[in-house]
Amino acid sequence: MPSNAQLLQLAIATPLGAALVIALGLPKRFATKLAAVAFTVPALIALWLWAQFPAEGASHYQFLSTHDTGLAAGLGISLKLGLNGISLPMFLLAAIVGLAAGLYALRSGAERLKLYLTLLLIMHGGLLGVFASVDIFFFYFFHELALIPTFIMVGIWGGRDRNYAAMKLTIYLTVGAMLSLIGLIALYVKSGAHSFDLMALKEAIAHQGLAAATQKNIFGLLMFGFGILVSLWPLHTWAPLGYGAAPSSAAMLHAGVLKKFGLYGLIQIALPLLPAGAAWWAWKLALLAGVGNVLVVGFVTIAQRDLKQMLGYSSVMHMGYCFLGLACLSVVGTGGVVLLMVAHGLSVALLFMLATSVHHRTHTFDLAEMGGLAQKTPVLAGFFVAATMASIGLPGFANFWGELTIFVALWKFSPGLTAVAVAGVVISAIYGLRAAARIFFGPPSEQLAKVTAEHPPADLGWLERLPALILLAALLFFGFYPKALSQPVDQTLNPAPVERILPVHPSPPRT
């Protein structure tokens, strides 16, 4: 029986190893079976580790293991894997979305399926590595490992405008990654820890502290660098375009999981190590996110006619909530961000998947050319409405808890911004329900009637239902039992990563 730390390594190694084997020329019929196994194993391990995670007193990393890479002496880089209460939910998210995306890819019948699966497996392994890395060099390395296949997949299997989209995606994400890399290296140099190990960095900084100006500069680099990766307004324009063009499984993994890399980095690295920098940037970040991501992008989302563009923009808008939660610099706000990251990852992956399923039946993403599909495909309609409700924060789905805790935390930061954020809930109801209604309800449009007359649409088959069910079940489970997420998160965040800087609100009189 391998130890939990070994299982953690196994979870990351399985998809990468399978990718290697497939790339070396495994016949197709074996390749699909191997891929199915390689997508499933990490999910099972993640569930097991989640069950094994201590219910209390686990404020530090669990399942730790360290491998020397030959760089430890010179640069302080070693492959150190482990999970704390923040990375555990993210690891679980990566494993679940990876499984769903993998299952969907297996039945997609894409051209050059073996290459497609190889790239997807590399992406999956990279994602799992990102959230299991305690060493920030490998944290970054795994991110790049997951990012490169995204570019290639958009370039080869992308839809409309794929060349332009691939270019734009590459430029933006490379710039974002470079900025954050500079920030991380600066952190490494200034801390004087001579180690990329996050735990050692924390200790070194706690020991000597960083000057406020240094913190300000490094936090700025990280905020904009990571911010581009998470589509912080106004550096978000790559996202709708990129997701519009990306093949479904890549969009699921990127929008669902990889995009969270930046937020995760800010929470795990920037907030605890650079408290003064965070305090200096908090209001600026909150204004960009509140006015830009939530309000402006919210209205822009209403104006979209293309289903995938609409989903891309709505995802940008929801990232605004995450930034707002971060700006609160409180346990409640940061915890809310983790909840929302997991929930949004599940729901947006589900929506991108269903959007592709809709496309198979309507042969278009244009909302104006659809209508009445629910009469032909009631199960697909049911899933889509459920996913829409999840993404617009209906209680019963995980997203609600993320949004609620962020709103609660935000009130202490600024009641005005809270009103803006809560107004976003109305905006998202408008575009979410409008899209659902245009696709599925009312009489079918002329174009759709023509398409369905030629190709009668079949409802979701079991192979399409399975990944959707996995994602929906996770959304509902965390919606009904939020403690499953909040318990590990709370253990790690409490005591607070950053003390409140703003004056404390007068506490209510209690008797």
């Binding site: 691939a166 939020p482 209510p508």
Partner: protein, 629 residues
């Protein structure tokens, strides 16, 4: 008893989940499961009421730092009353639906929706804190969306469902802000703790009231309720007449301790104006369900006004210097609760008689083969005797015929208004005249005279599953108002209902008799059971004024959505595409020149180049670390 209350909450959830996952294609079985669940709910709610035990319990649901949301049950007399209303009316509607929806293709979805609604509604009733109430508040909105959308192939049904959900969310915007503000100001959202102790604030009750404005369709968010009649008639009876729309009033009674005089004044006027406006609109409706929908709006306005008319008695004021800018004034109001008592009383009787009227309308619609225009009906008295007589009882109850339920509860409200505010009293009394007027108009045109269409000519009485619930509700509409019956149902809440005594009693009795006679009598003489609207023929100007009044809100909202919101979104989208994506960011990219060129260079060659760059960088780093340089 705690177990009973948890069971009554979870049963419908299990039923809904079971139907959704296993019985999607078995309508018969799904309806059986759903009706069995409703029966169990009704039985348990009566057991809980009779048992007399009242309790509270809560469990932690989510904790992050200092913030905790708990899931709890607060079962007091108010909850017991509301639970029985939901249980009994719910059961009647479920049974009725067996007949009404018998030939529907999507019966499973319908009955699953009813079960999920019961779950959400019971959650509101049992909630012991505001966050939990908000959660179920949103969930009833979702069930309402699903059920209004039942005939989703119709554009109008799809639009109505969307509108209902979005308008409710507008109200919830204020509700949620109010809850969050309440949480930070008081440190708790538990209803019991808030009742014991809270900080004085006008903003909190007003923000919370926004939730009621949305859910109970008060002005200016009333627009969704008439459209919601696109849903199947049993849904209109249960959700959009008897229970869900009354949740706003229930919520107000729950947060009653937080009220302050200024907030009550606002609530009173919103309710009063809604009552009058909706009654005016009801006069010119042709669709039998729309008449009832506007009537519901008007009656909800009555309840909200009654709540706002409640008295606050200041018992203790002390000022504690706060640490912030403003001194925190800590005040304990002891509320007489007569407003809440009157509102809950009317809520109860209204649930019975409006449920009855809607189900009666459903029976009529079935009998007339889904014709809903009252001017194409007529002469149904003889063809549908059970429906006719039960419907007549419902009409008499709502117009305030002495001896029936509505008479008592409406009197309580009118009495309260007479004592508190003459202007409100005048408006509410006039509304009562209008209520009698439009109800008798509808009743006469629908049931009396000659059949005016083939559908009406071939009308037939409905089967027992349809008429049975009508009879039950008719009995309740008669007896529900007597103080003995209401005291049994409401326990201590019944003591709060204001009762006129002495000369005031005589006055209020005379007033209510006068308004009823005036309204009902004039409608009886004025209208003919004919194919055209008498008002339209004789007072064209007045008629078109009322039509304009009814449509003005929809026009204003349509104008806002199409001309302001959509255009604003288009402009922002244009700016986004052209300015942001095109000019600024590309200009920035040009500024960074080298990066842009470099990126484009490796793009045009091959994306794989990037991989090689990356590997090269890693190798250099490695070499550096290993001490090669």
């Amino acid at each position: 008893m705690l177990k009973h209350s948890v069971l009554v909450l979870l049963l419908p959830l299990v039923s809904a989940a079971f139907i959704a996952f296993f019985l999607r294609k078995r309508g018969g079985l799904a309806s059986a499961v759903s009706v069995a669940t409703a029966t169990a709910i009704a039985a348990i709610s009566i057991i809980l009421l009779n048992h007399g035990e009242r309790f509270e319990r809560s469990w932690e649901w989510l904790t992050l730092g200092s913030f905790t949301v708990s899931l709890g049950v607060k079962f007091d007399d108010l909850a017991a009353l509301m639970l029985v209303i939901v249980g009994v009316v719910g059961l009647c509607v479920h049974v009725f639906s067996l007949g009404y929806m018998h030939d529907d293709q999507a019966r499973s979805r319908f009955f699953g929706g009813l079960s999920i609604f019961m779950f959400s509604m019971i959650g509101i009733v049992l909630a012991d804190n505001l966050f939990m109430m908000f959660i179920f508040w949103e969930l009833v909105g979702f069930s309402s969306y699903v059920l209004i959308n039942h005939y989703h192939e119709k554009q109008s049904a799809s639009d109505a469902a969307k509108k209902a959900f979005i308008v409710n969310r507008v109200g919830d915007f204020g509700f949620l802000l109010g809850i969050i503000m309440c949480y930070w100001l008081n440190g708790t959202v538990s209803l019991t703790e808030l009742g014991a102790h809270h900080v004085f604030s006008t903003a909190i009750p007003l923000l919370l009231f926004c939730g009621a404005v949305g859910k109970s369709a008060q002005m200016p968010l009333q627009v969704w309720l008439p459209d919601a009649m696109e849903g199947p008639t049993p849904v209109s009876a249960l959700i959009h007449a008897a229970t869900m729309v009354a949740a706003g009033i229930y919520m107000l009674c729950r947060i009653e301790p937080l009220m302050v005089p200024q907030a009550l004044t606002v609530i009173m006027w919103v309710g009063t104006i809604t009552a009058l406006y909706a009654a005016l609109c009801a006069i010119v409706q042709r669709d039998i369900k729309k008449v009832l929908a506007y009537s519901t709006l008007s009656q909800l306005g009555y309840m909200v006004a009654a709540f706002g008319l409640g008295t606050l008695v200041l018992t203790d004021t002390s000022i504690i210097p706060g640490t912030g800018k403003h001194p925190v004034m800590e005040t304990s109001y002891w509320i007489l609760g007569n407003g809440a008592g009157a509102a809950m009383f009317h809520l109860t009787t209204h649930a019975f008689f409006k449920g009855l009227l809607f189900l009666g309308a459903g029976s009529v619609i079935m009998g007339c083969h889904h014709e809903q225009d009252i001017f194409k009906m007529g002469g149904l008295r003889k063809k549908m005797p059970v429906t006719f007589w039960t419907f007549t009882i419902g009409v008499l109850a709502i117009v305030g015929m002495p001896g029936l339920a509505g008479f008592f509860s409406k009197d309580a409200i009118l009495y309260l208004a007479m004592e508190k505010n003459t202007a409100v009293f005048a408006v509410l009394a006039f509304t009562a005249v209008l209520t009698a007027f439009y109800m008798v108009r509808m009743w006469k045109i629908t049931f009396l005279g000659e059949a005016r269409s083939d559908e009406a000519k071939h009308a037939h009485e409905s089967s027992l599953v349809v008429t049975g619930p009508l009879l039950v509700l008719a009995v309740l509409s008669v007896i529900g108002g007597y103080s003995g019956v209401f005291a049994k149902l409401a326990g201590s809440v019944a003591h709060l209902v204001p009762e006129a005594e002495g000369s005031a009693h005589t006055t209020i009795l005379l007033v209510s008799l006068a308004v009823m006679t005036l309204g009902a009598g004039s409608a009886l003489f004025f209208y003919k059971s004919a194919a055209t609207d008498t008002l339209e023929e004789k007072f064209r100007f007045g008629f078109s004024m009322l039509i304009w009044l009814k449509e003005s809100f929809d026009r204003a909202y349509d104008y806002y959505v199409a001309k302001i919101q959509q255009r604003f979104a288009m402009v922002l989208n244009f700016l986004e595409q052209i300015v942001l994506a095109g000019v600024i960011i590309r200009g920035f990219a040009g500024f960074v020149g080298l990066v842009g060129y470099g990126a484009r260079a490796f793009y045009t060659g091959s994306l794989h180049t990037y991989v090689y760059w990356f590997l090269l960088g890693a190798a250099v780093l490695w070499a550096f670390a290993a001490g090669v340089f």
